[in-house]
Symmetry: C2
DNA sequence: GAATTGGCGTTATATTATAACAGTACACTT
DNA sequence: AAGTGTACTGTTATAATATAACGCCAATTC
């Protein structure tokens, strides 16, 4: 599971992998995390997490609502936003501000900056490996005396797959 | 003027400087840019640019509306959004997605990533110098075959000024 | 088993952004 | 200077995203 997590979800741009595996890994990881922190992964929360993970594309809150309704849950905005907030606080999903959308986090157990590449063609988003990035950010900010508490990096462009397809 | 621009607006965290000077520099730069590109810096556009530049804190579209009204302009959302879009396209302002707000760009004449530090205490935002950052981003993305077209970096934290004040 | 807490249902509303169309000013041609 | 096209603005309406507030129920604690 951890090997997969460390792939930093670059597989997101490769739609051919067995994604059900990823979803299950994420759910397992969520359950562990909740148990450790004395939090509850309730049915709504679990469903929201599953829906978000199932998609390689960031999903908007209002895209989730009909799917909640289908599953028999209340489908008013507060329900889904609460679940999203909860999952974010646990680091299980990230919000992509430039898209008003949410995507699964591929390594919730490690502290890390929120850093994504988003393909304008296929709309997939993949998390960046940020070891070096983080130090570059710290250096740049530190030079100006700024103390970083939270990072958000969103790169728009073309993924390898779509670049090749465009040729 | 250019010296000031190259300071990358780190002065934003220092509210004591003569900010009217910055605003005027920005307006001048805007006029030049518009002339070069055959675009018009109309009164609404100029006012919006001025209002945004006057503030060290990112301003939301709806915060601008009453000020437009005061100046005798139409103050419906489309008016301000049109001006904001125009100014963004010319690189004169940036949108900070995580805040749904806009801030003046301190070096509109150079191509550069959208990269800001935002202080959670004083809400000021300052543009990052991104030469090294840019190469770190390119390296990280390139390793995964991703071709960057547009960057957005938003760092939240504490600016030097507020950090010292907190001690 | 009473009290407390956390989570959800529900209604209403706030906030941010855009669509669509009509009118006006400007720039260009002749 | 009149005609013509284009870019800009005014205006109304509405879409899209997000939160406030309150009450109920279930689980947990004492």
């Amino acid at each position: 599971m951890h090997t997969q997590a460390n792939a930093f979800n670059s597989d997101a741009f490769n739609t051919s992998h067995n994604h059900e595996h990823c979803v299950n890994a994420a759910l397992l990881s969520a359950k562990t995390l909740c148990r450790d922190r004395g939090q509850r992964l309730t049915p709504v929360r679990e469903l929201v997490l599953r829906l978000i993970w199932q998609s390689h594309q960031p999903l908007g809150a209002y895209e989730l609502l009909p799917q909640l309704a289908e599953a028999g849950f209340n489908s008013a905005p507060p329900t889904v936003y609460r679940a999203l907030d909860f999952l974010q606080e646990l680091g299980l999903i990230h919000r992509i501000a430039s898209m008003n959308a949410f995507i699964g986090c591929s390594h919730p157990d490690e502290a890390h900056p929120n850093a994504f590449m988003i393909c304008r063609e296929c709309k997939s988003a993949a998390e960046l490996d940020t070891a070096e990035l983080k130090s570059a950010l710290s250096a740049a900010a530190g030079a100006l005396g700024f103390q970083i508490e939270q990072e958000s990096v969103e790169l728009m462009g073309l993924c390898q797959h779509c670049r090749e397809a465009a040729k």
